[in-house]
Amino acid sequence: MSIPDNILLQVEKPARYLGNELNMVVKNPDEVKIRFAFCFPDAYEVGMSHLGLQILYYFLNERNDTYCERAFAPWIDMEKIMREQGIRLSALESQQSLDKFDFVGFTLQYEMSYTNIINMLDLSGIPVLSKDRRDSDPIICAGGPCAYNPEPLADFIDFFYIGEGEVMYNDILDMYKEHKEKGGCREDFLKSLMSLPGMYVPRFYEAHYNDDGTLKAFEPLLPEAPEKIKKVFVSDMKQAYFPEKQLVPLLEAVHERVTLEVFRGCIRGCRFCQAGYVYRPVREKAHEQLIEQAAGLINCTGHEEISLVSLSTGDYREFQPLAVGLLDKFAGDKVSLSLPSLRIDAFNLELMNRVQEVRKSSLTFAPEAGTQRLRDVINKNITEEEILNGCHLAFQGGWNRVKLYFMTGIPTEDTDDLKGIARLCEKIVEEYYSVMKKEENKEMRKRNRPVSLVISAACFVPKPFTPFQWVAQESADGFRKRIFTIKDSIQKKQVRVNYHSPEVALIEGVIARGDRRVGQVIYRAWELGARFDGWGEHFKYELWDQALKETDTPGMSFYTNRKRPVDELLPWDHIDPGISKAFLIREQSKALQEATTPNCRQHCGGCGIWECESYKAEKEKCPLENKI
């Protein structure tokens, strides 16, 4: 049922619930065999900026037998009215409620969206717990980066998809169709699903715990259930599916631009970054292909900006021909190119001058830590000299705003590291004035507003499948002390400090490294009213605190403040993203010795990922050495 007009008139941003956007796929739901609801468990304008949604939406709709529609988390005001009037959550395309679908799939982008998943299921009239669902209910699946530790959601999700969506969905849907025609029950479908790679069906596994709360054993309950679930990924990005269209939201989204994914994976190996490990290996697209895809998307969206998205776009080997090619192609069409945080050198500066003629946006650096020592611990290979050189060039080119991203609570971080942030800021401010002092910059000195630095300090959350997956997370008070040390040490008035909530980081920490028992905490927090926990104004720590106390788990500090021995069985050990545990252990000890690991192109670190160019090259060099 469409939402009636009088309700749309009572809620904030009613365009969130309309559908009918540019490039929406229209099919007759009665004429397809499979109905798939792609759900993004956050607000419409956040979800619509997500590239994965755009790709999978068109990918699934390529099939004539399938209609993929979209659903987002209704905002608080809408939920209230829906509950008062008994309105169920609908997909935007057909405006029919989700309980009518064959599949309801959630993308797991961040842990703090999990209460919205439960809420969306509940608002759709679908039993929230997997065990309560009947044959007539949709199959609930989930994928995305957070699926690498699926356990906290194991009670709610029928199957998890581990890896990149383009690879297995056709097989899944073919299998489902066959199954539906034969009239098989849901249990049988889920069983047969396990014959496909990348599929994890949590109900066919059981966790056992020791008295101290740690995991004792994790066992498949059926012979069909694989002990390890290997991720699936697209081997050749040059052959990968890429949609010719992009949905354009009817109201202002977080990002309004054509997004071009230039490669997947990352060569860097920053030790805190889960994406940098689980998305390996690096797979690049060809620049000619990207320019062509950009042209098509510009034509069908009317967007005026192209953005290059990848984990570290500056590492793209065809970056120069791509950037120049895009600028040349679209120069006359009022299309601009937004570049992500790059390593600034003379070439990039010239590029930046071409892409942002006058409105100089701010420069962004992510040093993550205040001293070289700590940057070595996290393997963030950016030096103070590089940052200062980049600033120098940019100030000379007329920029005067700098954003710096840091994390606090990183293992081994001490007061000197925290004060290092202030020292770095002071040097940047001094750099600015030394550039402005030059005679040639006299005009700019008069014209420019004073330099401004914005520092953002995030609280470190250790994530599975990183070398820090075993470390203890800082406590709330500890985080606060660290943040105050940063704030107090910054004396320059040109520097503004933003920081993230320690409480959010801790709840994120509980879920990120949580086991199956954490599902009860999420459920209880939802029952108590937790929604949109990723939004500062909606996050209520007291609800989570109460949920942790009322449920049967070893408690907050067990999950956050506890250092795990490397031989402890971890809740996500049955998931295999291709990175060996031996490699992560090596990286952890190197971190503690402040030793860096070169990037994958300089020297293969032997992480164990399959089908990797760097590893193959390294192996050819010394065929006898087997590091994995």
């Binding site: 309309l18 540019l22 034509n299 969206t301 009317g302 967007h303 006058v358």
Partner: protein
């Protein structure tokens, strides 16, 4: 020489729940996608030379909206209409249009009145209430821009026409030189009838935007 066009368009059905800024953005996109050779402003941050006569409140429908655009080259208006209608989402439709004369004033500066058709959720004593309002010399309403102040909205109401027990039309002042929101009128009307006013229960359609020439109301077509 400016090549400027004026188009009349409608905003109906669900698309009326997007706000004015989003409508502008959407139109800009469609112009681009349709390949209409629109002219851009000069300067550092060029934007399309596209202008709307008067914003329409979110949620209201309309069959009498106007937009104007300057093009870089002359084209038959029908071609532009066809190309744009092909791209505009359901509910938005260009109805007619023409190239403007040199020196012709913009619709935004000409518009003086708006004709609205208003439907209340249920039948009420409408006829007498409308008459009472029109008979008043002064009609004070709370100023939405300045809290605590009132203003006289009576001079901004030109004509109220009874259609049936829950529908009427209102000719009220609209535009840059004086603008009455239908919401204020409806508030006053409900007060007159001694009824609680809930804005979301109303269904409002803008039928026309009008200019005044020698005391005559005429369309902007």
């Amino acid at each position: 020489m400016k090549i400027r066009y004026r188009f009349r368009f409608s905003k109906l059905d669900r698309i009326r729940f997007i706000g004015h800024l989003d409508l502008m953005k959407l139109t800009q996109r469609c112009i681009k996608m349709a390949g209409v050779p629109i002219a851009y402003s000069s300067g550092f941050n060029p934007h399309q030379l596209l202008f709307f006569a008067l914003p329409l409140s979110l949620g209201m429908g309309s069959v009498g909206e106007y937009m104007e655009m300057e093009l870089a080259e002359e084209l038959p208006a029908e071609n532009i209409i066809e190309a744009l209608n092909d791209k505009l989402p359901p509910g938005l439709e260009i109805l007619k249009g023409r190239r403007m004369e040199q020196g012709e004033k913009s619709s935004a500066s000409l518009v003086r009145g708006g004709l609205y058709k208003i439907k209340l959720p249920r039948a009420v004593e409408l006829e007498s209430a409308l008459k009472t309002l029109m008979d008043k010399k002064e009609l004070l309403a709370a100023d939405t821009k300045k809290a605590g102040r009132t203003l006289d909205i009576r001079p901004h109401i030109f004509e109220l026409t009874y259609l049936n027990e829950n529908e009427f039309t209102a000719m009220i002042s609209s535009g840059s030189s004086g603008n009455l929101k239908p919401d204020l009128l409806l508030r006053a009307l409900h007060e007159e009838m001694g009824m609680e006013y809930k804005s979301y229960g109303m269904s409002i359609m803008r039928m026309e935007l009008l200019q005044k020439k020698e005391d005559e109301w005429i369309t902007l077509d």
